[in-house]
Amino acid sequence: MKVLIIDDEPILRRALSRAFSAKGHEVQAAEGGEQGLKLWREHKPELVMLDVLMPDLNGPQVIERLGSDTGNAFVVLMSAFTGDFDSQRAKQYGAHEFLSKPFDDVFKLVEGLEERVN
C-alpha cells in the first residue's frame, strides 16, 4: 500500500520508511505539515502516519486543511505527549488511530497497521 509519513524528526522518518518499505510498501515522507499536505494530495496514500506536534502545521490542522481530500486514507496520529491523546481524541480530530511514541516494537506496529488498513 501507499504510505505517507509526516513527522519533523528525521530519524523517525527514516525508521518508519525503512520499516514499511522492508515489507514492500510504497513510502513517501514529509518533514512538516505543509509538505505533508502537498504529498498527500499528490500521492493519495492509503495509510498516513501523522505526527501531532510539528513546527509548522500540527497534525489535526493538516487533516482539517485537507478536508475531503484525505481520500480514504487510514490516518494514524502519533504523539510523544502522553496523556494528551488517546484513540477517542484522535477520532475527534478526524484520524482513525492514535499511537504514542516511542513505539515498543516497530515490526509489530507495521503488522498491526497492515491488518487494519486491509
Binding site: D8, I11, L12, A15, A22, A80, K101, D105, V106, F107
Partner: protein, 667 residues
C-alpha cells in the same frame, strides 16, 4: 377728838405683876377712860388675849424685874406686836429709864408718883400711843390683806407662767419632731445618693420604711428598659429579686388599699398579702418605667395618712436613685460588651497616645505583642515615625512589619474626636499576614513546581521524538544484520541505551507531572525506589552510594508519584547536607508490619535547637540559597496521609538518617 382718838373703845391690859397697891390710884384713874382689864401675870394675860386684842399694855415694873422685862418684851413681840407697852412704877430712876428704853416694845413710862395733871398728860400720851397703836394695827391688817392679794396675784401669775412655759415646751417638742422628720428625710436622701446598686437600694428602702412604721413591707416594682419587669423586696433580711411577666396596675395616682394590688402581689409572691398602698414614682427617666412602690401595711387610717405623707416626700429621690442604679447596670453591660468584643478580636489591637504609649489594648495584643512593643527603642524607629505621621496627617496608614518571625500588616487609624480637633490617639491594628504569606509562598512554590513540571514535560516530550526514531531504526537495522556479527552486539547496546533513555524520560514525566487524580496503587516500595534512582544520578554523583534493597517485596498502598517526590526530597536534602563529598545510604527494609525507606547522609547533622523546627513548613536552613523549606513538611504530610510516619535521627558531626515508614498492605 376723832374716832381714832376715841379712847372709850380702847382695850387696855394691866399686868399687876405682884403687888400693885401703890399703883391703885393710877389704875383706877386710867380705868375711867380706858376699858382696863387686869391680869396678875403674863400667863393670865395670855389667857385673856384669846378673846380680845388690847392696844395698850400696862406693866407694873418691879425694882429687880429686868429679867422679866426681856421675857415681857418677847411676849409682847410675839402676841401683841402692834400694841403699845407702858411700864408703870412708882418712880423710875433715869438709869432705869435708859435701860428700859432699849426694849423694843416700850412705848412710854408712867411714873405713878405723878399728880393728876401729869396723869392726864400721861393719859393723853397714852391715847396718842393707843391711837398710834391702833393705826399700826389697822396698817398691819391692811398689809395682811394686801399680802394675801399679792399672794393670790403671784399665784395666778405663776400659773400663767407655768401654762405659757408648758405651751412653749409643747411647741418646742412639735418643732423637734418636725426637725427630726426632716433630718430623717435628708439622711435618707443622702444615703440614697451613695447607693447605685438595686440590691442596696432595696435594703435601704426596707430600713427606711421600717423606721417610719414597723409593720410595713415595701416592694419596689419597675420595668427596666432592657430587661423586663422586676420586683425587689426584702424578706427575713434577704434580698428577693423577682422577674415577673405580668404587669401590675399602673396609674399616675396613689392607690390606697386597692384590692387589685393586693391580689397581684399575693399571686406573684405566692403568699397572703395584707392591705397595700401603691405609690407610683413616675418621672421622665430613661431607664425605667411603670415604677411603683407597694407598701403592705396593717395601719389604721390616721397612721396610714402619716405614712403616706412621709413616703410621698421620698418618692422622687427614690425614683431617681433607681434610675441611676439601672443606668449603672446598663453602663456596666456596655463596658463589658465593649471589652469582650475588643478581646474577642484575634488581631492584636493597641490604642496609643503620644508618644507611643498604649492606653488600651486587647487580649491578643497583651498575649503576643506587649513585650515586643514596650521593648521598642524610643527614638529613630520607622514604626514611631509612621505613627507620628498618622497623628499629624490625620490619615490612616498601612505598613508591613516583621515581628519575631511573624509577618504583620500594621494598620494605623487616627481617632478623630471632632472634625477639627487634634488627633489624640491612634488605633494600631496588627493584621497577622503570616498565614497569608505562607499561603503565598506555598502558591509560589506550587507555581514553581508546576512550571518546572511543564518544562520537564516539554523536554521529555521533545526527547521522545528522536528516541522513537532511535528505537525503531535500531530494531530495523538489527533485523537486517547477522546476529553473529559484532555490529549486532553494538546495535544491541545502542538499543538498550535508547530503552534506558526512554525509561528515564518516562519516569521524569511521571515525576514532574503527577496526575492529581491518580488513585493510590498497591506498589512495591523497592520498585519505586529503583525507578527513581536514575533520576538521582546527577545530584548523587559526588557521593559514595550504598543502596540496599529489601529481600522481599514491600507492598504499600500509596500514590507512587507523591512518594517518589518524598524520596527525591529526602535524597536532595541528604546531598545538600553533605556538600562536596560524603556517603549516601539508601535502604529499604521490612520492620514489623511496616515497610521502611532509609535515607542516610554523612553530613554535618542537625543541631539540637534546630531539630524541633525541622518539619515546620517554612523552616529551612537553605534560605540564602532560595530554599523555601516546604519539602519536609509536605513530605511528612504526604506520608502521614497513608498512615505512615517520617522520623529522623541526627548527630552533629556524624550525619542524619531519615526513616520513612508505611504500613504494609496485607492483600
Amino acid at each position: 377728838m376723832d374716832a381714832e382718838t376715841d379712847i372709850s373703845l380702847d382695850h387696855a391690859l394691866w399686868i399687876e405683876n405682884g403687888d400693885t397697891h401703890h399703883l391703885a390710884d393710877l389704875q383706877s384713874g386710867l380705868s375711867r377712860s380706858l376699858r382696863l382689864q387686869t391680869c396678875s401675870n403674863l400667863e393670865a394675860a395670855a389667857k385673856y388675849l384669846t378673846g380680845a386684842t388690847p392696844t395698850i399694855v400696862f406693866y407694873a415694873f418691879k425694882e429687880d424685874g429686868f429679867e422679866s422685862i426681856s421675857s415681857l418684851d418677847e411676849w409682847m413681840q410675839k402676841s401683841l406686836p402692834s400694841a403699845g407697852l407702858i411700864l408703870v412704877r412708882q418712880s423710875f430712876s433715869p438709869q432705869q429709864i435708859e435701860k428700859l428704853s432699849q426694849m423694843t416694845s416700850v412705848s412710854c413710862f408712867l411714873d405713878a408718883s405723878l399728880g393728876q395733871a401729869d396723869v392726864e398728860q400721861a393719859l393723853a400720851r397714852v391715847h396718842q400711843v393707843a391711837s398710834k397703836n391702833r393705826r399700826k394695827m389697822r396698817l398691819a391688817e391692811s398689809l395682811k390683806v394686801q399680802n394675801k392679794q399679792l399672794e393670790t396675784m403671784t399665784a395666778s401669775l405663776e400659773r400663767i407662767v407655768k401654762d405659757r412655759t408648758h405651751d412653749i415646751q409643747e411647741q418646742k417638742t412639735q418643732i423637734e419632731i418636725k426637725v427630726n422628720k426632716v433630718k430623717a428625710l435628708l439622711a435618707f436622701i443622702k444615703s440614697l445618693s451613695k447607693v447605685n446598686d438595686i440590691g442596696d437600694l432595696s435594703q435601704l428602702l426596707q430600713k427606711e420604711i421600717k423606721s417610719l412604721s414597723k409593720d410595713c413591707e415595701p416592694y419596689l416594682a419597675f420595668r427596666a428598659r432592657d430587661f423586663g419587669r422586676w420586683i425587689y423586696t426584702i424578706r427575713q433580711s434577704r434580698l428577693i429579686e423577682k422577674s415577673v411577666q405580668s404587669s401590675w396596675k399602673t396609674g399616675a395616682r396613689l392607690r390606697i388599699n386597692d384590692k387589685e394590688d393586693q391580689v397581684y402581689l399575693a399571686n406573684e409572691f405566692s403568699k397572703p398579702v395584707q392591705k397595700t398602698i401603691a405609690v407610683p414614682l413616675n418621672s421622665n427617666h430613661h431607664q425605667s418605667s411603670e415604677v411603683t412602690l407597694f407598701i403592705e401595711h396593717n395601719l389604721n387610717e390616721k397612721e396610714l395618712e402619716q405614712l403616706i405623707d412621709e413616703v410621698g416626700k421620698r418618692a422622687q429621690p427614690l425614683a431617681l436613685c433607681l434610675d441611676r442604679a439601672l443606668l449603672e447596670i446598663e453602663l456596666k453591660r456596655s463596658a463589658y460588651l465593649w471589652e469582650s468584643t475588643f478581646n474577642s478580636i484575634d488581631e492584636p489591637i493597641a490604642i496609643v497616645e503620644k508618644p507611643l504609649k498604649p492606653i488600651r489594648s486587647n487580649k491578643a495584643f497583651q498575649d503576643r505583642l506587649e513585650d515586643w512593643f514596650s521593648g521598642l527603642p524610643d527614638a529613630e524607629s520607622d514604626l514611631m515615625e509612621q505613627i507620628n505621621e498618622c497623628f499629624d496627617s490625620k490619615k490612616s496608614i498601612s505598613l508591613p512589619l516583621l515581628i519575631e518571625g511573624s509577618f504583620f500588616d500594621l494598620k494605623l487609624y487616627p481617632i478623630l474626636s471632632s472634625a477639627v480637633g487634634d488627633v489624640e490617639s491612634v488605633v494600631c491594628l496588627f493584621v497577622d499576614m503570616t498565614h497569608e504569606k505562607k499561603l503565598q509562598s506555598q502558591m509560589i512554590q506550587h507555581e514553581k513546581m508546576t512550571a518546572i513540571g511543564h518544562l520537564a514535560g516539554n523536554i521529555a516530550h521533545e526527547l521522545n521524538n528522536p528516541l522513537a526514531g532511535l528505537k525503531s531504526l535500531g530494531q530495523i537495522v538489527q533485523q537486517e544484520i547477522d546476529e553473529a556479527d559484532q555490529i549486532s552486539d553494538d546495535l544491541n547496546e545502542i538499543l538498550m541505551a535508547a530503552e534506558r533513555s526512554s525509561e528515564i524520560i518516562k519516569n521524569l514525566l511521571e515525576f514532574s507531572n503527577p496526575n492529581e487524580g491518580a488513585q493510590d496503587e498497591i506498589i512495591d516500595l523497592n520498585a519505586l525506589v529503583t525507578k527513581t534512582l536514575p533520576l538521582l544520578k546527577s545530584i548523587t554523583s559526588n557521593f559514595e552510594r550504598d543502596i540496599i534493597e529489601a529481600s522481599e517485596p514491600l507492598m504499600v498502598k500509596v500514590n507512587p508519584q507523591l512518594v517518589q517526590q518524598v524520596f527525591f526530597n529526602l535524597v536532595n536534602n541528604a546531598c545538600q547536607a553533605m556538600g562536596e563529598r560524603g556517603a549516601l545510604k539508601i535502604q529499604t527494609l521490612k520492620k514489623a508490619n511496616t515497610a521502611q525507606l532509609l535515607v542516610a547522609d554523612s553530613g554535618g547533622g542537625i543541631p539540637l535547637e534546630v531539630q524541633a523546627k525541622v518539619f515546620d513548613p517554612f523552616f529551612s536552613t537553605k534560605k540564602e540559597k532560595g530554599g523555601t523549606g516546604l519539602g519536609l513538611s509536605m513530605s511528612r504530610n504526604i506520608v502521614r496521609s497513608y498512615g505512615g510516619e517520617v522520623q529522623f535521627d541526627s548527630r552533629v558531626g556524624e550525619g542524619t538518617t531519615f526513616v520513612v515508614s508505611f504500613p504494609i498492605e496485607k492483600n
